[in-house]
């Protein structure tokens, strides 16, 4: 493992410490060391917006804590849901008296831990509403959308939900807007190289050189099919088609595009993909309102990329435009 780490079991602890030191102007650590809180949180009278998830996806989830973004984030071990206690503590830190919305991804562990946190929070009089992201097209068929994984679409869910909360909306309004955002998202991932959990010490799965894994998950969950490695043009066109075939948006729809590297993919390659993706999206009569290209939601040092397309309406456009101050996005 050619990596910058100390004790493999301390990767999360060391990451969080270094993160808080770098961004002390925006975030702080709660008493529970597995909870990151925005400096200004809780904001009295504002709906609290939280998320949580396994680590190893940096800048997700912690990097999206900030002004007009998430109020608090529960931090799990690498690729492992945070505890119910951490979700609960995040809710406590975010609670400004009007309830808390927890916007998280559809994974068994997160579902269970959030469920338990909701019960515990209710006992303290904190109402937690939830939205469960399920934007990953390849993780289940169109008739089983509720089974799909949440991936980089979560970023749009957070952005829109948090902006809505910042504008003074009620818990139900924030929940509904975040739900709309994720309902309007479709994502797909392609993996060219695996990742290694430091404590395991060898790659989680194998991607033979010259092949690629289409539909790969954010934790190295194998994709839906293995294909010979194609040109960037072909891969980008395939990814756009996968997402847009599932989406079926009327021509003229405005969309936001998020193209994220999985950790070890350099930025030039993401731009190379974007060149074709933008063309493919526009070829369907869609209008690209904004594009984000970078390492927004990663999987340790996996080589690969995800594409997320968010269909916009006036409300979502306006929420996307709200300025944010957080480590991971502008």
């Amino acid at each position: 493992m050619q990596r910058f780490i100390n004790d493999p079991d301390e990767v999360v602890e060391d990451t969080v410490k270094g993160f808080v030191k770098a961004h002390a102007d925006l975030v702080r650590r709660a008493e529970n060391p597995r909870v990151i809180v925005a400096r200004q949180a809780p904001v009295k009278g504002k709906v609290g917006v939280i998320t949580g998830g396994g680590s190893g996806h940096e800048p997700a989830f912690i990097g999206y804590t900030g002004v007009n973004m998430l109020d608090a984030v529960a931090v799990g071990e690498l690729f492992s849901s945070p505890t119910a206690k951490s979700f609960l503590d995040a809710a406590r830190e975010a609670n400004g008296g009007r309830g808390v919305v927890c916007l998280y991804g559809n994974y068994a562990g997160d579902n269970m831990n959030v469920k338990m946190a909701i019960k515990l929070a209710a006992k303290e009089g904190i109402e937690i509403a939830t939205v469960v992201a399920n934007d990953d097209v390849c993780s289940a068929g169109p008739l089983e959308r509720a089974k799909r994984r949440g991936v980089a679409g979560e970023i749009f869910m957070w952005k829109c939900g948090a902006a809505k909360a910042a504008q003074g909306a009620s818990l139900e309004e924030v929940r509904a807007t975040a739900q709309k955002a994720i309902d309007n998202c479709r994502s797909v991932g392609v993996g060219l190289g695996p990742c290694t959990l430091p404590a395991v010490g060898h790659p989680n799965f194998v991607i033979e050189p010259g092949t690629m894994e289409v539909g790969i998950g954010h934790h190295g969950e194998p994709g839906v099919r293995v294909e010979p490695l194609k040109s960037a043009k072909e891969i980008a066109a395939d990814m756009a088609a996968t997402v847009l075939d599932d989406h079926a948006l009327p021509p003229g729809t405005e969309v936001a595009v998020l193209l994220s590297g999985l950790g070890a993919t350099p930025l030039d390659e993401l731009y190379i993909l974007n060149d074709t993706m933008a063309e493919a999206i526009e070829a369907r009569g869609l209008k690209i309102y904004r594009t984000y290209v970078g390492n927004y939601f990663t999987s340790l040092e996996m080589v690969g990329a995800t594409l997320t397309v968010l269909a916009l309406d006036d409300e979502l456009k306006q929420l996307l435009d709200v300025e944010v101050h957080c480590p991971a996005m502008r």
Partner: protein
């Protein structure tokens, strides 16, 4: 009638921790094939933490189960934190007041563990999860008791059924958890949770057997 003295049996949990830690790499490897490769790491961390808390204290089995369950639930997260966490805290609840645990109490304890897991995870037998080990194992144990076999022999039945249950997951297509997204590609590999559950149950059974009075 054979029974286990609750007091001072807390050490059994140290044996569970040991077997889990010994199988850290193996369990992660299985999980890596159709999951995210961290099952052994998660389990070893949780059981190791709990063992650290238990070591040097003389605990009842109920107290030790409660410590293990609470550590899993509050400090481990993932799927295993809540699932095994609720299983062990439920175990503890049933035997909490008992001075000695007979086969019937032991069976009730196991059953309550299953209930806890299903209440939170909503999986069924056949979904390719740890329940495919746990449920047939408990069924076999109860059947042996109903047939008035001695506690120790019922534990043998439990072990055999746990291992058969674990092996049954190999041919299953996962219907829940990460692996369920793989469809047919999930067939042909053991389930990681079913494998750890078999390790836990057989180690538990053997340690109980050695202490039966």
């Amino acid at each position: 009638m054979q029974q286990l003295v609750n007091a001072a049996s807390g050490e059994i949990v140290l044996a569970l921790a040991q077997i889990v830690i010994e199988n850290r790499a193996y369990l992660s490897e299985i999980d890596g094939k159709i999951g995210d490769g961290d099952h052994g790491v998660n389990m070893a961390k949780g059981f190791g933490l709990a063992a650290d808390r238990i070591k040097g204290h003389t605990l009842t089995l109920a107290e030790a189960f409660d410590t293990l369950g609470t550590v899993l639930m509050t400090e481990i997260g993932g799927s295993m934190g809540p699932l095994y966490g609720v299983m062990f805290t439920n175990f503890a609840e049933v035997i909490d007041k008992a001075e000695a645990i007979d086969a019937s109490a032991f069976g009730a304890m196991l059953r309550k563990g299953i209930e806890g897991i299903q209440s939170i995870g909503s999986a069924e037998v056949g979904d390719k999860t740890l329940l495919d080990t746990l449920v047939p194992a408990v069924d076999a144990f109860e059947a042996a008791c109903a047939a008035r076999r001695p506690f120790s022999e019922a534990l043998d039945q439990l072990c055999a059924a746990a291992e058969a249950g674990r092996d049954s997951t190999k041919d299953m297509v996962a219907k829940i958890g990460r692996a369920s997204r793989l469809g047919e590609r999930s067939r042909g590999v053991l389930d990681a949770g079913a494998t750890s559950c078999a390790l836990i149950l057989t180690t538990l059974a053997h340690n109980v057997q050695r202490r039966l009075q």
